[in-house]
Each structure stands twice: as C-alpha cells, then as structure tokens.
Symmetry: C2
Subunit: 392 residues, 2 copies
C-alpha cells in the first residue's frame, strides 16, 4: 500500500425530505447570501427549487438564482455565474442538481474570489481559495457531491478539462433518494455506469497488497450489480435508489481508492466522446470501459479473474484463468446492455471514421498515459476501434 | 435504509514516516501550544515521542507533555491533564498512542473549556465545545482516531462510560503502520478483534434493504480475516499492518454503518468485564461476541448465513440454513482462538460466579437494551454464562 492522505469533510445529509433543512445547513456553514445554481426546468417543475427557496426563506437566508446548466457544463455559463455572484455579493453557492450543476457551481466558487480567468484552474493552476459550495443532489452518478473535483467544457472547441482542490469539497450535500425517482431510466443507467466506472478506475492498479481497498471497491460494485436492475425495472423503488445513491458517494470520495495507483484512462478516452458528440458521460463510459478492459486485461489476468468472480459471480476456471477474465468483461458488457446502455459506437451515435479526430483531441502525442497500463496514442485508437465494433 | 447524517472531517495522514509531519499539521489546524498526551514507556523508548517533539520544534510549536495513560483510561489522569492544559495555556491536544490515549485526550479537550466537572459529559451531557484534538496512532483497534467518541473509566467504582460529539473528531490523524510493528501479538489480536466487533455491532440490524452497508461491512471483515493471521505470524509484515490499520478506521467512522439500526449490546456487555477485571477490551469482546451471536442468531438466521458465507467462506446449507448460521459463529470463534484470543472466562481470567455482579453493573434493571435483539438482564446473564463455558 502506498502512503496517502484522505480528507472528506463534507457533511452528508441523507434521506427523505432532507432538502427542507437547506436553510439551517447554509446558516450552520456560515452562508448569508446564496446563489442557487441549477439546470433545466425539471428542478422547478418538480417543486424542488420551491422547497429549497422556502427553506432558505424560513432561515432568513437571502438568495439569487441562475439556471440553465447543461450536461457537460460550459464555461460560458460559469462566466455569467461569476458575474452574477459578484454583483449580488453572494458568499455561498448552492448547487441543486447533478454532477454538471455541481461542477459548474464549483467553477463559479473558484472564479468569484480570483482576479484572473477561472479557466486558469482548468489549465493546471491549483485553487487555494473558493466560496463555500454545498449541494442538493438529484442524480446518483458523478460523485461530485463528495469530491473536490470539477470538469468544465470550453464551448470554443468543446475542450473538456478538470480541476481539483480541497477548497472545492462541498460543506454539506443533501442526498434525498426520492429526488432521483423521477429520472428517466436512461439517465439512471448512465449514472450507475459512471459510479461503476469510478470504482473500476481505482480497482485496476499495479499496487500490491491492497486487500482493504479491493474489498471496498467490490462492495460498491456488488451493490450496483444488485440494485441497478431493480431501479430500471421499478423507478419508484426508494430502497434501491438509496443504496445506489450512497454507493455513488462512497465510490468517489476516494475512500475505496486510497493508497493505490489508479488508472483513469477510460475517463480520459470517454471525455473526447462526450465532448465531440455531446453524449452522456455514463453512456460513453459504457462503450469505452469494457473495450479498455479487453485491450488491457492480459496485463494482469488474475486481477480480472478477481473481478469476474467477486463482482459478477463467474466461476473461476483454474485450468484457464484467461477464460474467467474474459467472462467477467463479457458479463460487465451484458450488464450494461441489460440496463439499457449503448455498448458500441452505433448505439452511442459515434462514428468510427472520427477515431483519428478523437485520438488527436485526446492529445498525448508521442507520450503515454494511465496508471494501470501506459497507453500510447495508437493504443487509444485501438480501444476506440474495439469500442466502435463491440457486440454482446 | 433509514435517514442519516454522515460527517467525518478528520484528515487521515497515512503511511511510513508521516509522524514527522506533526508540526506542519498542528500549524495547519491552528495549534500554537500543544499538550502531547501519551501512555507508557514504549512511546518514549521507541523514539516516537522524540520524533514528534522534533517535528513540533521544527515548526516552532511549543508543547508540554503528560504520559501515564493506562488501558481503560481513568478519570483521575483526565483531571490532571485538564489542570496542566489550563496552566500551560494549551490550545491543541495531540494524542500519541492507541484508543486509550486518544479517549483520554478527548476527555481533556472537552474538560478544559468547561467550568463544571468533565464527567458531566460522560453522564449524558452533550459537548458543544472542545479544544482541537489530533492523533498519532500506534495501534489499529479502537477507531478513536476517526470518531467523535470517547470512553473513560471512573476509578472510584471502576465505572466505564462514554460520550460522543462532532467537536471531538480529530482534526488530523497520523497513521503509520510501522509504529504498530513492535506491538506484542496479543495486543495486535486484541485490536483486530475490536475492529471486527465494531463492524459486527453495525452488521446485525433489523433495518431492511441495506445492501451497500452490508457489503462495506463484509469488505472490512474479509480484510481482517485475511490480514490478521498474517500479522500474527509475521509482526513485521508492513503490508498486512497497513491493510488492518485502514480497515480499523473505516470500521468506525460509521461509513459502513449509516442508515441502519445498530446493536452495540456486545460492547456494553464486554465493558463490564474490562471494568471489573481490567482486561483488554478486545480480549473481552473475543469472549462475549460469539456468545452473543449464539444467543441471538435465531432472530435472523439468514443474516447469520450471509455472514457465514460471505465473511467466513462457509458453504450454504440450503436444506438447513441454521447449520450454516452456526457454522459461521463457530468459524468466528475458531478464528479468534487461532489469533491467540481467549474464548471463555477461564482463558480471560474472569469468574462465572461474578455474573450477578456483572449483570448488576450492566445496570438495565427491568428494562431491555440493544438494537438488534432487545435483551433483558436475564438474557445478559445467559450470554455471560455461554461466554463463561464456551469451547471450540
């Protein structure tokens, strides 16, 4: 196990009706003037924004609002948010939505106290200061409610880039699984795929002797394998929604990934898909992740066997472990298909002839990248090709 | 799943040599005058206290010291610590040791800013204010490095009582597994038992639909089942020590126990043993926990089957699940014996004829207690009797 620091100071406020505590929570964490940041109409139509307003009113907290966050949140709206927050003397950002809204809120939070262009932080600069951020989560997926990370897309060129800092960790995150019950099955499945991908990026490691984090990773994965089909079959299943929601947070605070080298190539490879086609991140991951696995599994066949047996319940083929490794990957792709995810370029709406563009945008040139297997641009192209043509 | 709040703001600073960062960490968290609180001579002889002093010196942090914490830490030393901290204008308590030292440090931390008797907080009062506490952990066991809990023994009458508050959560905890390599096998095994007990107290629940926390509990337990015998066989095994140390923290921040009713009767029943005989808490738990399981398993046979199969690798007897449930409990007791733990009163140094005294001190009178099975005083007496006579 490698040395590590683990820090996750967010207060998670979980369960039915907890959004009605927003006002008291903002007060507890020192906010006096809030920017409520959200996405489309669903948060308003569902009455959620009204409940958040009512809770802030009740606690005497002033607020202004900015909606319109899109999936793959854009820098253009972040600039608007920074301007509004400065004009209104906002001292607290409350994200009401999913990963995109939270990431956009974090970007505004770093931008407000910074004299330069907030994009600097998405180009390598480390954030030391930000307005406090909190969240009311409406989809189990990105894990942004418990992380210090944010990913923003620069509209000019659709460049997708991330930043991370402890100052971006939410002060509190309200997590009411009921709020996710109105999500379409497709979005629910995209979120589930994202959660599993967050674990797999950590699970595939070259660090030896990591039993505790291996087991914790598998705990989240087994939960997703059990609970996701239940939610797809019955969107109103609160209990399955609740298990997935907590799994999604545990998957990404890094408690399951500390002390081990991590990979993250699949996320990088996917980012180019969602940037080019504006598809859902989870859907892109469903296409890329099993293809990545097929390309790299020979690097550590026994680790893929462990996944196959412990997560997907495959029988170990002791005479031919490679068969078990491949059975596990196949079971994962089958699982993704069964929950309604695309498994190849056609189903995703991507085009094989764009692969050279995707690889170029990925931008590693003659270098190599990734923590588990160091991939070259040629390797990445091959993974796109496997993904393009994948079948059950 | 039940509604819950989860809050664990401690920064965990894990790995080789990390105690040399104490000075910078105290500074980061605002300390200027530290009380270094520790136990016996081993922390001095090993050079650990010297390294902590050197790190504080290097960062220009002043300090005073108080050693002498015993296992089952006493109120008498807490009073001394409070007096010393006030006299020296201490603004930060640094616990260098295991659960006892940390619990004693937390008691001092609440006592210093409080006008009354600190024991009030161990008699039901809730702490709203405390000096900041941090830890340098030397044994994986109590989980106190990541919790807001503290247990203190009143010397007059050997009354063992606890308190809990978010203000007692350590600001940081330095966790260097190397520091645990010098521990005797017996203490190591006591710590491992305590970690497993923390999980079992959460695992046995009447709350339905808790797949994610079930799986997380099992992740910690599987890790302990694998790694503990390795450490007993080879005390210098850093990797196994590291896995156990992180497992011990995960077991007790409550991340594996949120949203579910918990039991905690075994801890209460054990506390009377360690109070009366001054035995190690983990050793007492090794005697009590399987006896408690034997007394309650019929309440939910399938949950005990799940433990037997998933944690101890038993085969499921689908024709007679009760056999599997009992096989799991038997496997747990065998495991405890194999790592050198006592499994009955004789091996622990307790006496069956003291049972009426133990039950009376447990003090539930005509009431009932516990989250999984509500036990009467008579039930508790029966558990002591099973524990007294247990065999492999």
């Amino acid at each position: 196990m490698n040395n590590f620091n683990f820090y996750s100071p967010t207060e998670f406020v979980f369960g039915k009706g907890r959004e009605n505590e927003c006002g008291e929570l903002v007060k507890k964490y020192g906010g006096t003037k809030v920017l409520i940041h959200y996405g489309g109409k669903s948060a308003i139509k569902s009455g959620l924004i009204d409940r958040v307003r009512a809770s802030l009113d009740k606690s005497g907290i002033a607020y202004c609002e900015l909606g319109g966050v899109q999936p793959n949140p854009r820098d253009t709206l972040v600039y608007k948010g920074i301007e509004l927050a400065r004009k209104e003397n906002v001292d607290f950002i409350l994200a009401v939505g999913g990963g995109s809204v939270i990431d956009s809120s974090k970007a505004i939070a770093i931008g407000v106290p910074y004299d330069g262009d907030f994009w600097d932080f998405y180009s390598g600069k480390h954030a030391e200061k930000a307005l406090p951020v909190a969240t009311v989560l409406t989809i189990a997926a990105a894990g942004s409610e418990g992380s210090g990370d944010s990913v923003i897309t620069k509209e000019d060129g659709m460049l997708k880039r991330g930043t991370g800092s402890d100052v971006l960790r939410p002060r509190f995150s309200v997590m009411n699984p009921e709020l996710t019950q109105t999500l379409p099955a497709y979005q629910t499945a995209c979120g589930a795929t994202d959660i599993m991908a967050h674990v797999f990026e950590r699970y595939f490691t070259n660090t030896k002797e990591v039993e505790i984090t291996d087991r914790l990773c598998e705990a989240v994965l087994c939960t997703m394998v059990k609970e996701t089909p239940r939610v797809i079959a019955d969107p109103d299943n609160y209990e399955a929604r609740a298990n997935i929601m907590w799994a999604g947070t545990v998957a990404h605070t890094n408690i399951v990934g500390v002390g081990r080298e991590q990979d993250w190539n699949s996320h990088g490879i996917e980012h180019e898909l969602s940037a080019l086609y504006d598809c859902a991140h989870g859907a892109g991951l469903a296409v890329i992740m099993p293809a990545w696995m097929e390309f790299v599994y020979k690097h550590d066949i026994m680790r893929f066997c462990q996944m196959a047996v412990r997560v997907f319940g495959c029988n170990m083929d002791y005479a031919d472990p490679e068969k078990t490794a491949l059975a596990g990957i196949k079971a994962f792709r089958r699982f993704l298909h069964d929950i309604g995810m695309p498994i190849n370029f056609t189903e995703l709406g991507a085009k094989e002839e764009d692969i050279p563009v995707l690889v170029e945008k990925f931008g590693i040139g003659d270098g190599r990248t990734g923590g588990f297997v160091h991939l070259s641009a040629q390797d990445v192209a091959e993974i796109y090709r496997i993904a393009a043509r994948a079948a059950l």
